[in-house]
Amino acid sequence: MKVSNGQWKEALSGKMTESLARELDIYESEIALRKQGKIDERVFAETRLRRGTYGQRYDNGQRHDGSRVQQMAYPSGDLTKGPMTMWDAPGMQRIKIPGGGLNAQQLETLSQLAEEYSDGIAHVTTRQDFQLHYVHIENTPTIMRRLAAVNITTREACGNSVRNVTACPYAGTCRDEVFDVTPYSRVLSRFLMGHPDCQNFGRKFKPAFSGCAQHACGLTNLHDLGFIAVTREENGLEKRGFAVYVGGGLGAVPYQAKLFDSFVPVEEILPLAQSIARIYAKLGEKKNRNRARIKFLVQDLGIAKFKELVLEERKTLPPDPRWTEFVDDAERFEEQPLKPAGEWPAEISEAFKNWVKTNTRPQKQEGYVVVTVTLPLGDITANQLRSLAGIVRRFTRETVRTTVEQNFVIRWVSLSDLPELYQALEAAELAAPGAGTIVDIVTCPGTDTCKLGISSSRGLAAELRKEMEETGAKFDQAVESLHIKISGCYNSCGQHHVADLGFYGVSRKVGNYAVPHFQVVLGGEWEHNAGSYGLPVAAVPSKNVPKVVARLTERYLAGRASGESFQSFVKRSGKVAMKSMLEDLTKPPAGDRSFFSDWGDPREYTLSDHAVGECAGEVVLPVEFELTAAEREVFEAQIAFENEEVERAGKMAYQAMVHAAKALVKVEMPDVNDDPDQIAIEFRRRYFDTQKFWDPFVGGKFASYFFDAHQNAGKPYTFDATRYLIDEAQLFIDAAHSCNNKLSTPVSV
């Protein structure tokens, strides 16, 4: 698209390694070949995905414009860049930032790319990456060259590969860390990138590092491979190592990582990661992508067996000097300040004081603080990136990092510089207070740009922020410290499972209309590296979510015991009470059509780009009724589980799935009886084999939850299995709602 694309290669000649330059030349050739039809679209799709070049919403060439589905008349016609992905359709470019670490030049390059190839905004993700949206495929080689020239890669930012290696952004400065994990995260990132043992995974693989166990910053519990810094004494000397966790993950059904080993010496972390990668590549699921993450392998094998296999594999690895050559340098690694240590300023304004309270954190090095730059919804403009580059040059040795809360931190700020730095951030409109508080909402892209989005997570987040700003809400400390995290769908890119108040997008049918909703997920724990996951309480219309937030925070303030956390309050109150607290908000008010569109999007809400939302058919009352009953049953299963009645909870969750399946079967076979075997057979025949129940993006994933549960019915329900079964039951019922909506909505093109 850009006229200058052909000239950048020459302009940047010699500014990157030869091998990288060659890689990018090959990628550019593949683009040319695909345009000529000489590369299969599936092969090309994987090629670009492994370079972080994603599809984006509406890239199948269709978009519902509010009244009909429009076919987008792209200049390249039917040419595709992947199955059902039009060549000219705008896409997303993900940019890996290991550990979130950046320098000023890199910030400036990102600003240029956001301006020249995207929409002027760079978006920080929940895994410390950047994303540029609305990017044309033919601009991506130039984007990659310009990034490579400043030592940034997009390689393996997507696809079935090792994704960005994340790390605590406070590493090296945190008062509670065991040691600085920065050099170890960087060396693992370099080691695994492009490693031959990491090229045959069934799905993606996400590592993370944390310097301590108690804070949230590394989120190791929700990663495929997590490292927490630990030390032990050996021969009178302190020895560095890591507690290694494996098999965590969010997604539709969240899994807590299992402890693999409480102490792995630093010189063993690379071969161990390599061994784990080899076992995952060998034994991990390949065909059924819905069970292909390593969490399923760990769950299926059990952590003891998995560990045994990994350690056997370790013995077979040919030695690699890279395993240990970094160790001495890593021990010595320490960032340096630009300015001498300072003292807290004596006189400060109220605004400055508020900002200091939420946006600064004393370092373990006396006289320095880490400053958080809050970004609304993770967005920063090109101008702000340039300003930030200037600021970090002026006050630090360019020590800036992105965070999993979609912000930046500027490290090594001398206390004496704090007022000036605040002024500089103010001038760049980057001095908003509230970092890590209830207004610092984390959200995935949702329906704005993501193909999988069900509800508008960004629209909701923007509305919540706006309402809090407009009311100028002064929150009680207990409320101020709550975390809100929003995902546009069950996949949890917004990390809703680990929020005090989590929300994920679902749809529900109200009368003849599909209505955007969010499941309210309460009781997740952000601290302790995402210590525990919340469970869904109720689905509420999107437009009622601000009222849900207001009510929950009010009730918490009024009803909490002294010093009681929100998580404890939810647990003490019980899910029945929490659900009943929201009961009147689960339905849209009669006659209010504003509920039929989502936040920030006036189009009438639809479930897909192929279907119009205005239903001409009749509401099938019996199926709606049955699905509601199934929802109630899964809720009761949650309560039973909370009361440690594991066996009963498992049975109820399974029963809820049978009920939902029966509801759909009954639409076609009114005389279906209550026999689960018959229901399963008929459901498979009528809905699974015909793909009527299939999700457009994950296929038969949700149906497989039901079939698995049916197959296992009668066996004892373990604690872990029941926990997962309850989540799966909820997702299956959500999918049954979607299926019912889809089948009762006329399709128009």
């Binding site: 006229v3 509406y58 509010g66 200049p75 020249e116 929409d119 905004i121 967005d379 403009t381």
Partner: protein, 191 residues
């Protein structure tokens, strides 16, 4: 020097009175109607970013937006696809597109008559740092053509050209006319 990917921003008067909210349904309707020559695709809402790109109507060949970069609210046209012709024709095309969009918004009842071009200030910039690095050489190379274009646009009225001096920013110029001109008059001048 080739001036491709020309951006134009028509600065609006009384920016504090302009509510960007109604732009969202308006832009969605523009997609419904495919009201321009360019293929219109989507709406991006960045109202939450202060001093940001505002609300953008994403297109294939070009984006339209009401943009608040530098806290100068304006109707912006961002040409993404190459445009055949001379530099003069490319400038003309981009300015005409921006004026046409601005005129539509000036006449849009949902904007309540509050979004109006201030009649004097037009920012022009080239969204490609390789084609047009922001330096003296570019200013010298593009200057004569920009002067010629300004003369036609303002039809002999007095004007000034004020170049963006920050080398980190895009090559750009603020064209400021001494008298106020309407979008209609400027479109007429370009015809």
């Amino acid at each position: 020097m080739t001036l491709q990917h020309v951006n134009v921003k028509l600065v609006v008067e009384n920016p504090a009175q302009v509510d960007l909210g109604p732009l969202i349904p308006i832009f969605h309707e523009w997609i419904q109607g495919q009201v321009f020559d360019e293929l219109l695709l989507d709406v991006a809402d960045y109202r939450h970013v202060t001093g940001g790109p505002g609300v953008i109507l994403i297109g294939h060949q070009a984006d339209y937006s009401v943009d608040n970069t530098d806290h100068r609210l304006g109707v912006r046209y961002n040409r993404k696809a190459a445009f055949d012709g001379s530099n003069f024709q490319r400038l003309e095309q981009a300015v005409r597109a921006a004026l046409t969009a601005c005129q539509r918004l000036e006449q849009e009842p949902r904007m309540g008559g509050k979004l109006r071009f201030n009649g004097q200030e037009i920012e022009l910039f080239v969204n490609d740092r390789l084609l047009a690095p922001n330096n003296d050489a570019s200013r010298a190379a593009a200057g004569p053509e920009l002067q010629t274009f300004a003369k036609k646009l303002f039809q002999g009225g007095e004007y000034s050209l004020d170049y963006q001096q920050d080398p980190r920013r895009l090559f750009g110029v603020l064209m400021k006319c001494s008298e106020k001109l309407s979008t209609s008059a400027l479109l007429q001048n370009l015809s």
